[in-house]
Point group: C2
Chain length 282, copies 2
């Protein structure tokens, strides 16, 4: 079935939450940066861990899942939606922008912008899921702003499962990362876009493999900065006296999600499982 | 007299220029970053070098000058206005936002946002002109986003004249910079906002004085990134095959302006003097 979404409210209030969605725990890298850069903003986070990874799925399926989650999250009356998943951004960002009347931020343009700011030799690497790399979304975003850039894209399908299973600290992980990135270590790129929000979990390994002359660009930092810019320009920055209480929702095992999330965010959280509410639509 | 401004055009086209204004050559630090980050964007730059520096002037006077320049620049049908002067941003940004129906970007919020992203210990220094520091605009911008920050503001009225006279490379300059910043070198700030677009001309000296543990935040980089973000979100990024030809205008001595500008931008430019057109209004 087709999903149609409309935000019916006429006014958006500054105290409403920022909704962040991802295929699983990867978007927590964005959520953590939003918490740090915008400590007064309340977050409602949704991780579709039951159906992660999105990377190998057909674009049409990812599109439908993303629309379902946006539809679900609208019940929280967010003032902004952040699609903190590169695969979902590549296939659904523009459509969602048309469907809702609140700002929608993806993770691809912020990463592209940061790479343009960072590169000195104009040679930029991008790693992501198959879905993201195949879509050519980074290449398009980069070239639309700065046509003379040279871009090398590389799909790393092994990375997301490592993170979703909570294995990013294991010994084998270095070997897998190093083998995947071999082609890039032999290139002359001077910056590498981590084109998947799961990858910052592996950033110290990736940095070790790529060496000190390649700057890593995390979509997370940059997306949080874009969230801040847009909220400011729309007059939507929250005003609060107390630290807000965030909400975490996932479609998969809430215990596994909580364990990974608490380790990454460095604070205790409560996770609600919401399998039924989301999958009823599909 | 009061200045009233209205943009009458109904449609904004992507090929229209980005207008950048400053009290003099300081905004060239922003222009240079816009050229680097957005090589397809055409720039119309106005430096009010006849009346620089703005820092020691009464707020009402700076406000009037800024409105005059915006009114003048509207003849170029810009798709965006960048107030690349902290003093002018502090007193006139909100008013200009009300008066025109194109996006208006200032330099204070981008700098504040970058400092929030950069600081680890929450202690942030701000240097600027008397006008900027007295206005408390940075403190307000920083605290509105992250209330727990500790901020030390310091006016450095000596810096702008050094830059406008093209003396930033001279021997005496180190002594002046070092004396001005003494109070900050004795503090525990871990990042310092260069809260005046002239200061990047002095950044290697400032960095030497402050030492390696204090990150310098240039409004220029951050403002260019904000320009990029807003143009993207408004669907206003330029589409061009050739490098655009920029326009430079100043109210003071065009030769002095050209000399400083060419050194900073590292390319040849043509500068038009436009004293009469601007000052006729005041």
């Amino acid at each position: 079935m087709e999903v149609t979404i409309i935000v019916r409210r006429k006014r958006v209030f500054v105290q409403q939450p920022v909704a962040i969605l991802d295929s699983g725990v990867g978007g927590l890298t964005v959520a953590k940066e939003v918490m740090r850069q915008l400590p007064l903003e309340k977050i409602v986070y949704f991780g579709d861990s039951l159906r992660a990874p999105y990377g190998p799925r057909p674009a049409e399926e990812v599109r439908k899942f993303t629309l379902q989650i946006v539809d679900y999250l609208l019940q929280f009356q967010p003032k902004m939606i952040v699609i903190a998943c590169n695969t979902a951004t590549a296939v659904a960002l523009e459509e969602i922008r048309q469907l809702v009347d609140i700002p929608v931020v993806g993770v691809i343009h912020p990463g592209a912008r940061a790479a343009i700011t960072t590169t000195r030799n104009g040679q930029v690497g991008v790693i992501g899921t198959e879905g993201t790399i195949l879509s050519g979304a980074y290449e398009k975003a980069l070239k639309s702003i700065s046509p003379s850039l040279e871009i090398i894209g590389l799909a790393c399908p092994q990375f997301v499962p490592l993170v979703e299973q909570g294995l990013s600290g294991q010994e084998d992980t270095y070997r897998i990362v190093s083998e995947c990135l071999q082609q890039l270590t032999e290139s002359s790129i001077d910056c590498l876009i981590l084109g998947c929000t799961h990858y910052p979990f592996l950033s110290s390994l990736i940095s070790e493999v790529m060496g000190p002359n390649v700057a890593l660009i995390s979509s997370a930092d940059e997306t949080a900065r874009e969230v801040s810019t847009i909220l400011y320009h729309k007059g939507l920055l929250a005003k609060r006296i107390q630290k807000p209480v965030h909400q975490f929702l996932c479609s998969g095992d809430p215990e596994l999600f909580r364990r990974i999330a608490e380790q990454w965010l460095n604070e205790e959280i409560k996770v609600n499982s919401v399998v039924w509410q989301v999958t009823r639509i599909g």
